[in-house]
């Protein structure tokens, strides 16, 4: 047991970065998902196309390829960011593209009668979205968003490959200095798992809170 304890300080330092990156990337991804998801439903053709291109580009190429592209190629075009910013940006863009589909499905899941009721009440489309459609859609989006959050957390491990000292990087460093593979990678897996479980519980709580008193099924 003591053998494991001396590994922990290093790993915890790595975990801090992992959590930090996740904490910055997740809200940014949410913004991208909402912006592109809504843009695809917009009546303006240009916005639709921009959203489609963004989503297909980031969903169609691999995250690791995107990461290396932003890390090695973008500086050639004058976009020089430090590794952590690059990592957060790419993770957010990638996760946002997947989230875009969630937003689209969520909005689509709101019964048509709701929209018709808004029209009958002479609401502007923007107001209908803000007051009626989106609040209902958002509740249905939360479970898939929770899954994406876990995917995001797991994806942060790839940042270790662009020199960011995250949990995976800490594990690799310890492995190189001590060679105790089984303990180190076992422990790293456990820590990722525990973090994911905490995030899952948090999302469950949020789902319950946001869903309280709401019932999408109409029961006469």
């Amino acid at each position: 047991m003591t053998a494991l304890l001396d590994l922990l300080p290093q790993l915890m330092k790595g975990l801090q970065t992992t959590l930090l990156v996740t904490a910055f990337a997740a809200p940014l991804a949410l913004v991208m998902a909402l912006a592109s998801g809504l843009a695809r439903l917009s009546p303006i053709k240009l916005l639709q196309w921009l959203a489609v291109i963004y989503v297909e580009l980031f969903r169609g190429t691999s995250l690791l390829v995107q990461l290396f592209y932003f890390f090695y190629v973008m500086p050639l075009f004058g976009l020089s960011l430090d590794p952590v910013t690059t990592g957060v940006l790419v993770l957010a863009l990638n996760t946002g593209a997947y989230g875009s589909e969630v937003v689209r499905a969520g909005i689509g899941s709101v019964p048509k009668s709701q929209r018709e009721a808004c029209i009958a009440l002479n609401m502007s489309p923007a107001m209908a979205l803000r007051r009626v459609i989106f609040p209902q859609a958002f509740v249905t989006m939360l479970p898939p968003f929770g899954n994406l959050l876990i995917e995001l957390l797991k994806a942060t491990s790839l940042l270790s490959l662009i020199t960011i000292f995250d949990l995976a990087f800490a594990g690799n460093t310890l492995f190189q200095t001590t060679g105790r593979t089984l303990e180190i990678y076992g422990l790293v897996l456990m820590i990722y798992f525990a973090t994911a479980m905490v995030l899952t519980l948090g999302m469950r709580w949020l789902e319950k809170r946001m869903g309280a008193g709401r019932d999408l099924e109409f029961r006469p």
Partner: protein, 217 residues
Amino acid sequence: MNFDLTYLLQIAPLLLKGAVVTVQATVLGTLLAAVLGLLLAILNRSRLRIVRYATTAVVLFIRNTPLLIQLFFLFYILPQFGIALPTYLTGVIALGIHYAAYMSEVYRAGITAVPRGQWEAAHALNMPRALVWRRIILPQALPPIIPPLGNYAIAMFKDTPVLATIGILEMLGVALAEANRSYRYYEPLTMVGILFLIFSLFSAVAVRLLEKRYAAR
């Protein structure tokens, strides 16, 4: 920054060779994941509670930990137990195990969708359990879940670049090796991105066709 087409043509054969490795790894990984996933899903229906709990725990753990670390785990730990596999095989196994956990959930959904009455009828006919699975449940459970399984195959395809980290020369591995040699990242990485995009778009169309084919059931 100019895109050097002659340089690109020069490295294109290497990249395509990498693409073959990528596709191979995806196909083998998918086959492994499909088999392991089905096994996990069936075990999850076991009459022994401990087996059910164990499979649930395994699936939960694999789904909630990064593929990269699972890959390192297998790559460094298997040899310690005297299992020295070729690197390529280790990569395929890691992909297969990771996605088996996801696919088992898909299988589970398919199996749950088979009406209870089918189990009961088979039971009433005194069929042995193995036969019920083979003749009654799986033939009904499998067709509707082929498209979602296809989606996971595509997801796996996009995860294969991770194999470059243990030295497998798939597309990204080739591109990075080439870039390290020539200090030119622009052309190889752009090409890899484009190849991924092409493959992904085609496979998305393929899954849509599968959906059309199996949706009618």
